[in-house]
Symmetry: C2
Subunit: 348 residues, 2 copies
């Protein structure tokens, strides 16, 4: 009696023996080749089921050169966006019959990126997907010459490699227009870190919408995604409001900063939407439960994942697919409203 040891042994020829055919016929059945008699196919399939056979991917990878695995490089998954991007990607990859291997870099340095790509190539992944939000990463990715397709996710830029992302500019315009439509004279903007392409695109969208509406474009306010930067900007802004400045609407590049800003305003006795209208970006799970529930822009990460995987697979088939950016949507909740009437209104 075999001890507890590996019941592993199950190889193609075991199935072949049981079905009374050659291992090659089993291979044909497994890979869905056409020229197998229905009767034979039936018998092989039954043998596979009875034995619980599953082909060895390493052997298959060795001979075909394909592992049906995709590598994904990301940075800073503590943020909601990147985490959701990962989820969307994994679902889409799995749906397409691919596995996803991840590399979560501590820093988006060129070196770290190159190493990650290298490791993936060494692993014989079929393609590499990479989050290229930050310039350092995007540049590094741009330089890497990998022997496999490489597609960037959320790079936002029109780099040469195929890139798929959510339309950040459109999202920012949505947020800004909403505020303008409510009657605000202009909209202030708290940015993400300047080395983030996504953050810069949100600035561009915000400015574009302001200009299109003929509204003045105030100096943007620098944040860095963290709640604490939103808080710092919030304290500053609250003081200016208290000082009599006409600031009634703020669009922040993400929800976490909105959280910080809301807290800072609250400390100064200023509350949304009465004293200030606030729009975030991301739709964190907790956004509906902030005080007040946050109006924000939502990105469809599942769709993003699907398009990214679709692009990669097209590339693998030799097609050159340049997908459209995914459109974001605005979720109006309670942190936005019409501006309060202050002292003597400028006009009328």
């Amino acid at each position: 009696m075999q001890p507890d040891a590996a019941p592993r042994a199950l190889v193609m020829s075991d199935v072949a023996a049981r079905a009374g055919v050659s291992h090659q016929t089993v291979s044909r059945v497994v890979n869905g080749h056409p020229n197998v008699a229905p009767h034979t196919r039936e018998r092989v399939e039954q043998a596979i089921r009875e034995l619980g056979y599953r082909p060895n991917t390493a052997a298959r990878a060795l001979v075909t050169g394909s592992t049906r695995t995709l590598g994904f490089i990301t940075v800073n998954i503590n943020q909601y966006g990147p985490a959701q991007t990962l989820v969307g990607l994994e679902q889409a990859a799995r749906a397409a019959g691919y596995s996803l291997s991840v590399a979560i870099l501590d820093d988006a340095t060129a070196d770290a990126v190159r190493q990650a790509v290298d490791r993936f190539v060494g692993q014989s992944v079929d393609a590499v997907l990479a989050q290229a939000t930050y310039d350092a990463a995007a540049e590094a990715l741009h330089l890497v010459r990998a022997p496999v397709p490489l597609v960037t996710v959320q790079s936002g830029g029109a780099v040469e490699e195929p890139a798929v992302g959510v339309d950040q500019i459109a999202g920012a315009r949505l947020a800004t227009r909403h505020l303008l439509d409510l009657g605000h004279r202009t909209v202030h903007h708290v940015t993400g870190p300047p080395d983030s392409k996504e953050a810069r695109d949100r600035v561009i969208g915000w400015q574009a919408e302001l200009r299109a509406a003929g509204a003045p474009v105030p100096q943007h306010l620098a944040g860095d995604w963290t709640p604490s930067s939103g808080y710092a900007v919030g304290r500053d802004l609250a003081a200016r409001v208290r000082g009599g400045e006409d600031i009634t609407a703020v669009f922040l590049a993400n929800d976490q900063m909105a959280l910080g800003l809301l807290a800072a305003f609250h400390e100064e006795g200023l509350d949304a939407p009465r004293d200030i209208s606030v729009v975030g970006f991301d739709d964190l799970p907790e956004a509906p439960y902030l005080t007040p529930p946050l109006t924000t822009v939502r990105q469809d990460f599942a769709e993003l994942g699907r398009r990214a995987v679709g692009t990669v697979l097209a590339r693998l088939r030799g097609e050159e697919l340049h997908p459209e950016p995914v459109p974001p949507t605005l979720l109006v909740r309670s942190s936005t409203g019409p501006p309060a009437v202050r002292r003597a209104p400028a006009a009328f």
Copy 2:
């Protein structure tokens, strides 16, 4: 001139030819075998560097049976905890020279878990790590007989498979004791979903600490991790407070529910820490920026990842390692304080 096509061809014998040795000697150098003359090793290493050779993992996996890849099964990575667990695991795996392949299940059904394990086994991962927070997953995992080591993360239970996790009971006791120390007569508790072992452990820790202090143990309040469940419980609780019930301290099984509860209380004109003391669990990045900054319990996910990977590797070496649970820490911020004096205090 070769077109842009694959510069792939680089195999061991190319290196061998360049170094003037046999491919086996190259193999020995690559794998750090001892019996290679320093001079030879030097030459081979140089050839490897010059050629930029990297061994083919598929071929290596085929013959050794090891891919130096770990599979990780998780559910619902939208939650902060699971996401951080993934990060911790990936860092630790990479540090140990392993790749991490992920499966993010939509549902923790036995079937989905079995399938994921199967896919990983088919992929020839060396071991499988699985988040077993939910009973369905834990049970399914328990039944799966995989031909590779399987270690569960955050299963919290004393199941047979080696499990590594953060000490949830200790965390809950920390939170409860903090509230008791502040002078609260007792502490109410909002739970996570009942099919989560982590959630149940937090209930156990809460009850244990209450009993140890001789405090009454109120009925627990059912939540499900979501901010909205915290909000619902919050409305309920706020009404009871308004009705004169002596409820002064709440410990919630996660920060998101604390967020919801805080919002509900705020709507009723009740604020922390004046009217109610609130402690969460997880230390979300935004926890310091809630109104008020949230006192919470923090789990060390990096350490968790390290121990999980350490356990898996020990298993692979044939050792039976049963790691200690990771101790959590309490972060005191501003959502907790001494109870307000209400009407006629019971004693004195």
